[in-house]
Symmetry: C2
Amino acid sequence: MAQKPSIPKGTRDFTPSEVIKRNYIFDIVKKHFQTFGFQPIETPSFENSDTLMGKYGDEGDRLIFKILNSGDYLNKVDYATYSSKNSNALTSKISEKALRYDLTVPFARYVVMHQNEIDFPFKRYQIQPVWRADRPQKGRFREFFQCDADVVGSDSLLQEIELVQLYDAVFTDLKLEGVNIKLNNRKILSGIAEVIGAQDLLIDFTVALDKLDKIGEEGVKKEMAERGLTPEAIAKVEPLFSLSGSNLEQLQALRDLLKDSETGSKGVEELTYIVSTLEELGLQSAKFSIDVTLARGLNYYTGAIFEVGAPEGVKMGSIGGGGRYDDLTGIFGLKDVSGVGISFGLDRIYLVLEELGLFPESIDQSLQVLCLNFGDKEALASLKLVSALRKNGVKSDVYPSNAKINKQFKYANNRNVPYVISIGENELAENAFVVKHMESGEQQTYALDAVLDFVAKL
Amino acid sequence: MAQKPSIPKGTRDFTPSEVIKRNYIFDIVKKHFQTFGFQPIETPSFENSDTLMGKYGDEGDRLIFKILNSGDYLNKVDYATYSSKNSNALTSKISEKALRYDLTVPFARYVVMHQNEIDFPFKRYQIQPVWRADRPQKGRFREFFQCDADVVGSDSLLQEIELVQLYDAVFTDLKLEGVNIKLNNRKILSGIAEVIGAQDLLIDFTVALDKLDKIGEEGVKKEMAERGLTPEAIAKVEPLFSLSGSNLEQLQALRDLLKDSETGSKGVEELTYIVSTLEELGLQSAKFSIDVTLARGLNYYTGAIFEVGAPEGVKMGSIGGGGRYDDLTGIFGLKDVSGVGISFGLDRIYLVLEELGLFPESIDQSLQVLCLNFGDKEALASLKLVSALRKNGVKSDVYPSNAKINKQFKYANNRNVPYVISIGENELAENAFVVKHMESGEQQTYALDAVLDFVAKL
């Protein structure tokens, strides 16, 4: 019986136009990953469950897609577990594999398993789908691509500087000028918590501070109070709300504020080196600024924290982010491997490029030339012509049947083909072909053995 | 606790060198898909189970990876099903989604769901992973990429001709010359079964015939007898074993043999048109030949059948195959959509290119230039130089710390870097950089503002 087909919620089919636009972004990102010396790796779509479980918190564990064991999987389930009819308890007995939840944990696993063949520092990039059993909603999917570049095995701040340059190179090449790269350092946040006497409340403090954009200064203060910060501590935070001036002036203010915290001072020193070097080198089109409210996955990052905002005027969450983490591979038994990395938010970048009309105009021309089909004999000549065009890299085709010419032209229009070629009876007799430029309507005749003259005009 | 990490059996990590080589193949395949007018689509990694189940036979159903429902999935399982403790019965209650098993069924689903926005004939290509819970063995994986090009909505034999040209274009570009493209037609097999009076035994007949390469003429005859063909029928098959001469001569022999079968004659006519047109057009480096023993998924194909063998002297199964099928989308309710398609066997092509040493030599140079690091001040100058190189598309890097020079050179060697640049104290004073060509050992000095002179030499 025929079914009316559908796809699972939170997943997407990508049409030719969408794939081509997505690949346009991926290709530019990859090009710059490569010029910056990053190397690609790929890991399996599913991992052993114990590689993934427990790495993303309880909520993460819940959102990991589990794969049912094959065959008579119930055969191995003991009576007690089965009769409890408890989903959680049963899962570990009937499922040994799970779909990748992000690219970071598989990367850590990769580094540990391949440590003897890797030349450190290891700069890797990885562009693959991940899966999360999240509630689907606008812009949130159950399958989506992540696009990460990380360096492991080097604690040099040159890496942080290069990663900012990498963002700049990619967004400049995508013609997305004016993105705002925000920089912070986990050590600065720790230092602030320390000097205001709220070390124990570091997470609460930063979660509240992170909301400055959304709820304003008064809102942040209120939330800090609710989260248990004392009025004295909140008063001491005050200067953060009024940081102003150039990046280096703000850093000077932070230096004063944090002079009694060793950690905080170290954070200011690191950020100063990054910022002053970037100012010396200059960026092509991106802006960068210090943002001490930036927290992003605080428990994870130990040094630099990055986030990229869309250019002014575009309403969109962050289109990229990252930071330094000190112990990526410790979970798998390899200690003291420092890493720093960034990611690109493909789906959001796509939406921004679409909104601003930044995809190249020619991107929808998946076919440059269509040869009309006037019957077997003419089609053979067309096929010879098209073979020559294809050898020269021209995307071209012969209409497969001698359907009515209107129908063939309609196909050419629908596929947005710029040039339509006719080889009819007359042209065949004269060893010629006629090219019609669809936009202008102009026609030009070429000799069949002068294909390259036409190719040269494309 | 640190775990010793591993990956699920039948899956693979791909190292940088492997990813680069795989992408080299994909990129060439894609380039030709595009010049032949094919458009890319992508479908979700998992489909609703009822989209996939029942489409690949019982064995296929068993090999499909099922995804466990999220949350308290046992909550919805009725008492009777649960207490039967039957894996098969439980699966449909606790799993609604399954991983893609091939690209063909999802493509059929796509065509039906998107039929109103597709311009037929629709030439699509799709390169994505598929998953099968097969027993892993040498060369057989649980996750592997398929690489398909299909045309739907046209029954023109021009498509078959173009698909052979496409194989030729791809393998020629991969420098894999002399592949053997074998051609057959399902109608010829049906016709033979008809004229020998074995229509009911068509499958048995073709399964036996397909083994001619492996078990020889006597073996095939023995198997045919075991499968129930009469001695008279087997005697009538005799001429197939001695088909010889050119393709067109073989077709003439088949024409005589099948003159009383309408279906068989139609098959000979189709194949004759394809073969004579291909001989008229000529191929670049591939050979093609008729092979009436070729059956490949007989129940599936209705017209042309293709298979590509590696060049002579390379022991490898088929590296590609395909054919025409008349009713791809009928399973999803869209009737009378004829399709024809081919696929490329990536993993095997990779092994063949590796065996014959056909990957480009430069493919292992993921870094073209490494700048040595002599300390902060020199590194800043190096970073400026590298930024300029990168803007010119040169894959380049600065060693991230001023480690011992031996260690830095070792890294350059391990990464197979052809050029190492030094900017030490002296060079900095003279606004210069020194380039060492690692293979020859030759050194050359350039002015810091003459980066393009160096780029031009790359």
